[in-house]
Subunit: 331 residues, 2 copies
DNA sequence: ATTTCGTTTGCTACCGGGTGCAAACAGGTG
DNA sequence: CACCTGTTTGCACCCGGTAGCAAACGAAAT
């Protein structure tokens, strides 16, 4: 594999200085038509293109954004990644995908991203603990951070989220209107502050409607299997008369897992015996096999906003966007 | 935001030269215990860590691998991305995720990745045409390329794939054994050479069993909706007596879309009226709501191999790995 | 012919490290 | 005390660009 051509080599071939070559590749630079033509010809012959690494070093901007992901069990991540990469690329930015599930812990990963001089970091995880991150010396040399689709809770780190309060109000209103009175809430991470907040809203709105007793089901993580397991252990331990009549799951994956278990293992009907609500509106929720009532996050808008903040067009601040309740047959 | 500390600054603080600082951060470099301690102390105080950008420029290795993805409709991409990032990171490499669906065409994206000096490029797409890529001057300055989970067909570009011939043989054997005799094949990209090859194998094996007539259903792309549409138009145009008794879909997403349509729109039973087979073994295929017979790709092994080749441990060459037939209730 | 002004081009210095060589500095021998 | 050997350290130069200044150039104005 041959070495790549450099500006100097092109310069020699075109009979100019290397700075003239650079100018030919810098939009809006002051250069004579004639020289530009000569340079571009020589460049084409040598298959030259500027080295972005060297440029980044000199300009102190890599146009790379690190995206930290920890929850690959949620297929909803994929459309988010699609839209995110698309929008970033439209801004001339590129996403460095970092898996913070296993070897890398958050701090290590952040350090690493920092060393790579990324222009920004997007925290796009479900279960990471904000506490680990707040330990870091933020605002020093660290790249600007943003949290996507989850509360931030880190001082000075803005988040772009779907309005959880509004979402849960709409959901509870809907459920109450349909006549449900014995609600349950399934969380995927009992100790996580974001999850606690959602549960809090859920509980709150039910109390405002005079319903005080809310069953809580804890799944071990955000996966279909964990959702199934949680609902299994609940149904096994709870007499039919004392059971919830509607189960709100923290995300669709938990909900779909729960639905499978409710129907095939316990032979119960949805929504007649137990209604189910999810969160995210993952593609398969609409399938007739599930037809899950859920809440759609405003993905396009959220990403538009976060990328706008990274690109510097928007003021970096926490933004809360309204989503949409999608009512289907599971309630 | 303060500027990051440089090796020179740390050197001044520690009372040594900048090269000694560099040595302190280079494993195995020749440096006295005493100096190393001093340097590390000063570095900690100044919050210094080496600039990987500058290092990459000097060493001509970025430890970044570009991953080109074009098909975000297939949720199966997500576990692949998870395993891929995990393995790459375990090798000290990092994945740059590039969406080649929209703004970027393949050639443009490759050029861009090239300019960023990535160490390798992984083509992890479904629908990209190899023809566009073979136009490029490969082997010049271009980074080494690898194709994941799809045939390569580009001269000198190795692929790591699941053995399609074996897979289709096992599938056809299984279907024949179950007594199916009127097979159909649904493709998501009728013109794509990889797809043609699979179809060819399918046809071939059936012919070896004396079945010559194979219905072909063409979906517009690899999505559940396209799968539903293809099966709808087929069923509407085909008299019940002439219909296939088993439908093999090129991937699970097409299959799941088809199943929904077959059951809810046409009221047919699976597998009694029409059996369905998918490909990939996406998580939800196992759910009781679908219970789809499908073929699992050896994801871990495939990624192990491709990362091994990138890391230079394995000889770069096309590798074909056997997958596993997963029989469920849809056949 | 001289001055003037705008365009074009070359140059120095720099971004933050890495490489290989040579000098400086041990410590142990004869 | 000179000599040898192995370790440690400093240095010049390089990676491939960018920024901003100053010189060179050419055409119009005096």
């Amino acid at each position: 594999m041959r070495k790549r051509a450099t500006a100097k080599e092109v310069a020699d071939a075109a009979g100019v200085s290397k700075w003239t070559v650079i100018r030919a590749f810098t939009p809006g630079a002051s250069i004579a038509e004639e020289s530009k033509r000569k340079v571009l010809e020589a460049a084409a012959a040598l298959n030259y293109s500027p080295n972005l690494l060297a440029r980044s070093l000199a300009t102190n901007a890599t146009h790379q954004v690190a995206v930290f992901v920890d929850d690959f069990a949620n297929p909803q991540k994929l459309p988010f990644l699609e839209t995110l990469t698309e929008r970033l690329q439209a801004e001339g930015l590129v996403a460095v995908l970092i898996n913070i599930n296993t070897h890398f812990d958050h701090v290590h990963a952040l350090l690493h991203a920092d060393q790579r001089q990324v222009d920004a970091v997007i925290l796009f995880g479900t279960a990471f603990r904000s506490e680990t991150l707040s330990d870091l010396q933020l605002g020093r040399g660290t790249p600007p951070m943003f949290v996507l689709a989850r509360d931030s809770q880190i001082e000075g780190v803005p988040a772009v989220v779907c309005d959880a309060e509004l979402a849960l109000r709409e959901i509870v209103d809907h459920l109450h209107e349909r006549g449900y009175r014995r609600p349950g809430f399934m969380t995927g991470a009992p100790a996580l502050s974001t999850a606690l907040r959602r549960r809090h809203h859920f509980t709150d709105f039910w109390q405002q409607k005079g319903v005080d007793e809310i069953a809580v089901l804890s799944a071990e993580k955000y996966s279909a299997e964990a959702g199934a397991e949680a609902v299994r252990s609940y149904l096994e331990q709870t007499a039919p008369t004392g059971r919830v009549d509607v189960l709100m799951c923290e995300n669709d994956i938990l909900a779909l897992g729960a639905m499978d278990e409710i129907r095939s293992r316990f032979g119960l009907r949805i929504p007649e015996d137990i209604a189910v609500v999810g969160f995210d509106n993952y593609e398969f929720c609409g399938s007739p096999a599930y037809s899950l009532t859920t809440y759609e996050q405003p993905r396009q808008e959220m990403i538009q906003v976060i990328v706008g903040m990274i690109a510097g067009r928007l003021e970096p601040e926490t933004v809360t966007l309204p989503g949409t309740l999608v009512v289907r047959n599971s309630t």
